[in-house]
Amino acid sequence: MYDTIFVERHHKPAVALVNEGFVHDARSAAAGKGMPTARFVTQTVPCECTVPDKIQAGVRQAMGDVIAALTLPLKPEEQAPPPRPTEVTRGSVFSGDLLEVQKFYYKRGWTDGLPILPPTREAVDEMLRGTDLAPDHVVGKMLPRLGKVTVEKIAINGVMAGALPTAMPLLIASVEAVLDPLSSFGIFEVSTGSWAPFYMYNGPIRQQLHINGSTGALSPGDMANATLGRAMGLIVKNLGGARKAVEDMGVLGNPAKYAMVLGENEEASPWEPHHVQHGFSREDSCVTVSFPNSYAQIVPRGTDASGILETIKDRLGPRWRQLTLLVCPSHAATLADAGWTPERLTRELECTRPEPPATGIGRLSGPDSVRVLVAGGPGAWIGLVTGVGRWVTTPISLPSNWDSLVRKYRDYVPNYLRY
């Protein structure tokens, strides 16, 4: 609808042809651009259809409505849309017991389907100890609603996710990374492709907050990994306003939208950490965000350098435009002993990429389409995280009370090894 509104703003009457499954999305997009009565006609042509008969039939069926939309005089409300009711966003919005709070938030569409911790004033104030920024500081405005991402709203969503106050600097930096235009967040977050944010953390903060980069880094069980990803998911939904089946039109969805978070296993890596490779110092803590939609794991047919590399090459897809390669420590050591570095691996894989078929979808975007991280524990599996966008790396700024805050929460570590 954005393009339709552009036409209207250039004083030409327009109508959009919209797949019947995208009606709510179209209305939301038009309203979000300030032109809620922009006309559209629903049609039955399947999304991205390549079957001529279906296209012709769908268009023929809709053509009468198209002509009407271009010629029927405007109704009064189309010339002067009435104002929308305002939403209450400040202060207490509900009071109830734990189950009543769950029901209220879930029915408002404010959760990810899982129970949340109640964001009381007290809990949010504690969360705000994780930053020196003022609660009303606006980090940015997030698409598609252009919601104001204030520090307090980050804290509220962080509390809901179960994050500790020590997560605040990482959440603020992660928001900054997501809002960077290079991330193309506005496209990926609502795309039919179900691209999900992948947050990779580097630097001392991983050890301070127990962000797992070793065994099971991408599995549930680590509070930091789980709540950082979950909080960002709630932030994107509640501050950006990307609601499933309204703005977020991911066809199948993606479990990584709950959380896909890891810390690079820098201690087990024979190479410089990812953030150092890209201009930061080892002492910096950083977050890198990308928007893949697929994650596969493979075992190399040989665990020498040649076996590892040839197995990876065999799995490169012709349409892949972005690959984050997760190399377990043992394979990283083998590759390093054979003279491979992340830079050399990147060049090798970019040269090896098969030529894509002439589909018009898009081709390899050239340099910087491969990143190499060391992650995981003992074992032989390799992770292939694939997408089409870019990586954005943002430094993490720490509050003045950081050391005392870390000390206060340092015992949040599972003790299940005792039994």
Binding site: D3, L17, C49, I67, D97, I156, G241
Partner: protein, 103 residues
Amino acid sequence: MDATFDVLSPWAETDPLPLEGITPRVADLRGKRIGLYANYKRAAVPIQNAVEAELRSRYGADVQIARFEQQGSNDIGSSDDEGPRFAEWLEKEVDTVIVAVGD
């Protein structure tokens, strides 16, 4: 479950958004220049091909048809190169527009 929680909203404020009405319609398509705009998605151009065929079957030579295809933006207004080109096309070549986005 007896404890009571006064809870805050996680929903963001937005700046006030002035609402706009849409442009008055043309009375009839006959004699008009109809713009067919296709975005970058692969079904958009075939859809507009079908639209053009339908217009011809209904109006014959009584309508002029102009085509515009763009190559990679979800929001042409924010595209530095395609935005101005599209604006010029709108100003000079069409009276009304049908937009196809391919999904």
